[in-house]
Amino acid sequence: MTTGTPTLVRSPQVGTIDLAEARDRELVVGIRHGDEEAFRGLFSRYAPSAKAIALRVVRQSHLAEEIVQEAFLALWRNPDGYDQQRGSVKSWLMGMVHHRAVDLVRREESQRRRAERTASQIVEIESDHADEVVDQIGLPEERRRVRAALDELPQEQRAVIEMMYFDGKSQSQIAEATGLPLGTVKSRTLLGMRRLRVTLIGVES
């Protein structure tokens, strides 16, 4: 296991020392050396959030679990896929999971519609256990910060971003569902993402 003192990393975006990110990067280094404990460390830290976003998008528990397994399998097989110049380990991991989930729902759209009713019940049931997990993995501050950032968005921007990211809808599907012109969906998405970029990673336009 990679147990050394984490290296202090100064995030260029927010100008703060991010110990958690430093720890994550150490774990990725460990994984590059075949350290299974490092893998277990990263898995226990992020698999619960990875499962949450996967389930939110695909709406079927067994598929969400499969997506999480596939994403972490990809991490174990190819840890060099992570490039720290392109961002944090946690965003990279969530990106892998989200991309897989969106890819799956695009392919299985009809299957998803059939399962949606059942899936909503699954989401509700499993969310009941969330609080104890949050305490275990120590990410409540991150959750609070992201939720606050979303809350600060104008409702119309928040709505399109949530439909796109959490529901796996494409821009044209959102336009169709809301009756908004496609251009409006795009511009609201960009404006919302610019705001989130500032509040979440500290990058000004």
Binding site: R86, I161, T189
Partner: protein
């Protein structure tokens, strides 16, 4: 920021959220091809990718079964090749199909590959700065690859060297494996270079004139990036004059 960068920023922001339509994916390819090596484009991609990744943490995390990490490690140990893993998972169904698609073998493509012409090809993956000859013009052509296991589009200008490929939804090709891009010309495959996906996405630049090819194809190959294909293509795109 000029208008082109504003458009690229908008498309990259939507792409980071997973919401880009195929048409706009092609538009993004064209616009980025027009910019060649573009530091600002890379910054947009990184920033919006980072921002989107953070959104996952707005959700309540869910319990994961004890021993799940060990199950992943066991899968990795048991399945040395990704296709073995794919055989018993619903998710990895697509890669399994694409690597064994009947009727689209190299023989079927007529690729005897008696002589493989090596070209000087370079692929950049949003990596170190690299100059390109690709310029945005009205004569630029965009083609979409067909197949399973990933969405891939290519923009190029017929008669000029340089083609930009942009893709998403790609699985990790597996340990010691990469995706290799091929130009099929007169039934002879010519390597366009090898690339690995990052977060399921591919942004690659082929420093060759692809317009002489009849067909573009993608295979899974060893990291040695062989001079001739050893597996059947899982994505293809015919090029019309």
């Amino acid at each position: 920021m000029n208008r082109a960068h504003a458009l690229i920023e908008e498309l990259l922001a939507i792409r980071a959220l997973g919401g880009l339509d195929v048409d706009d994916d092609a538009l993004l390819v064209r616009e980025m091809a027009g910019h060649g090596d573009c530091e600002e484009c890379r910054r947009f991609a990184a920033d919006y990718g980072e921002t989107a990744g953070r959104l996952a943490f707005a959700l309540d995390p869910l319990p994961v079964a004890e021993g799940e990490a060990d199950a992943v490690l066991r899968r990795a140990a048991e399945a040395g090749h990704p296709s073995a893993t794919a055989a018993h998972t619903a998710l990895a169904d697509a890669p399994a199909r694409r690597r064994s698609r009947p009727g689209r073998t190299w023989q079927a493509l007529g690729a005897a590959a008696a002589v493989v012409v090596l070209v000087v090809a370079a692929i950049a993956l949003l990596g170190p700065p690299r100059s390109t000859d690709v310029q945005a013009t009205t004569s630029q052509t965009v083609v979409h690859f067909t197949g399973t296991g990933g969405e891939l589009a290519m923009a190029y200008e017929p008669g000029r060297p340089g083609a930009l490929l942009l893709g998403s939804g790609f699985d990790d090709p597996g340990p010691d494996q990469v995706y290799e891009i091929w130009m099929i010309q007169d039934e002879t495959p010519i390597s366009g270079g090898c690339v690995s996906p990052h977060d399921g996405s591919i942004v690659a630049f082929v420093d060759a004139d692809v317009s002489g090819a009849d067909l573009m194809a993608v295979t899974v190959e060893a990291t040695s990036c062989p001079a001739q294909p050893t597996t059947a293509p899982f994505l293809t795109a015919p090029l019309t004059a």
